[in-house]
């Protein structure tokens, strides 16, 4: 069974549109993340949620809004898409910080977003 899943896998859209990416984990983890990986493979953290609470919010345009309805789900909504938003977006999860293996992060398969 897939540990961290994301939908959709591919997303092609026009500039100015609004889109959402969904993420679910079945590992029982408390912490979830969104990362952006650019064309040079550089993986940069965008947001981190700990049991539905926003913990990390890196310098990301406020067009990006994460939403965590429960600790197993973390969705990413993007408004007014721009060309520069084209990238692969990865969801990840890890155990909570008081666990000895909290540094073990599991990634989803990624969502390849192309903005035309």
């Amino acid at each position: 069974d897939t540990a961290v899943s994301q939908t959709p896998k591919y997303l092609v859209t026009q500039m100015g549109n609004d889109k959402s990416i969904k993420c679910e984990q079945n590992l029982g983890h408390d912490t979830m993340y969104w990362y952006k990986q650019d064309s040079k493979k550089f993986l940069k953290i965008m947001f981190s949620y700990n049991n539905k609470e926003l913990i990390i919010n890196e310098t990301v345009p406020n067009r990006f809004s994460p939403k965590s309805p429960d600790k197993a789900h973390l969705n990413l909504h993007i408004n007014s898409l721009e060309l520069g938003d084209s990238a692969v977006y990865f969801c990840a999860s890890s155990p909570r910080r008081d666990r000895p293996n909290y540094n073990e992060q599991f990634f989803g398969p990624g969502t390849r977003l192309t903005v035309l």
Binding site: F42, L43, I45, N50, F90, N103, Q105, F106, G108, P109
Partner: protein, 111 residues
């Protein structure tokens, strides 16, 4: 200077070679040092990690951390074509949640 630097490669080696992948970092507060493998069009998967300094071995893979030099390495012995992937180092401070990744090294192992 980026917080974590990594030679982007690409690195091409013949099958059976010993591969050395390296990262340097600037934040002395990092305590967890992870290595991820990412196949093309897939998500990164955790290979192994070390806490603080020292070595760790897992099969053909050995991770080394030298905190005094702020330098970490991943060695792959008897490399196989299936090892062809991008290798990402990542670091974390104690009790932190902000994983900082290197830019990745693309490795090709040629049969």
């Amino acid at each position: 200077q980026k917080e974590v630097e990594q030679d982007p490669g690409p690195l091409s080696v013949p099958e059976g070679a010993i591969v050395s992948l390296n990262c340097t970092y600037s934040n002395s507060a990092f305590q967890y040092f992870m290595w991820y493998r990412q196949y093309s069009r897939k998500g990164p998967e955790l290979l192994m990690y070390t806490y603080s300094s020292g070595n760790k071995e897992d099969g053909r893979f050995t991770a080394q951390v030298d905190k005094s030099s702020k330098y970490i390495s991943l060695f792959i012995r008897d490399s196989q074509p299936s090892d062809s992937a991008t290798y990402l180092c990542a670091m974390l401070i104690n009790y932190g949640q902000n994983f900082v990744f290197g830019p990745g090294t693309r490795l090709s192992v040629l049969p």
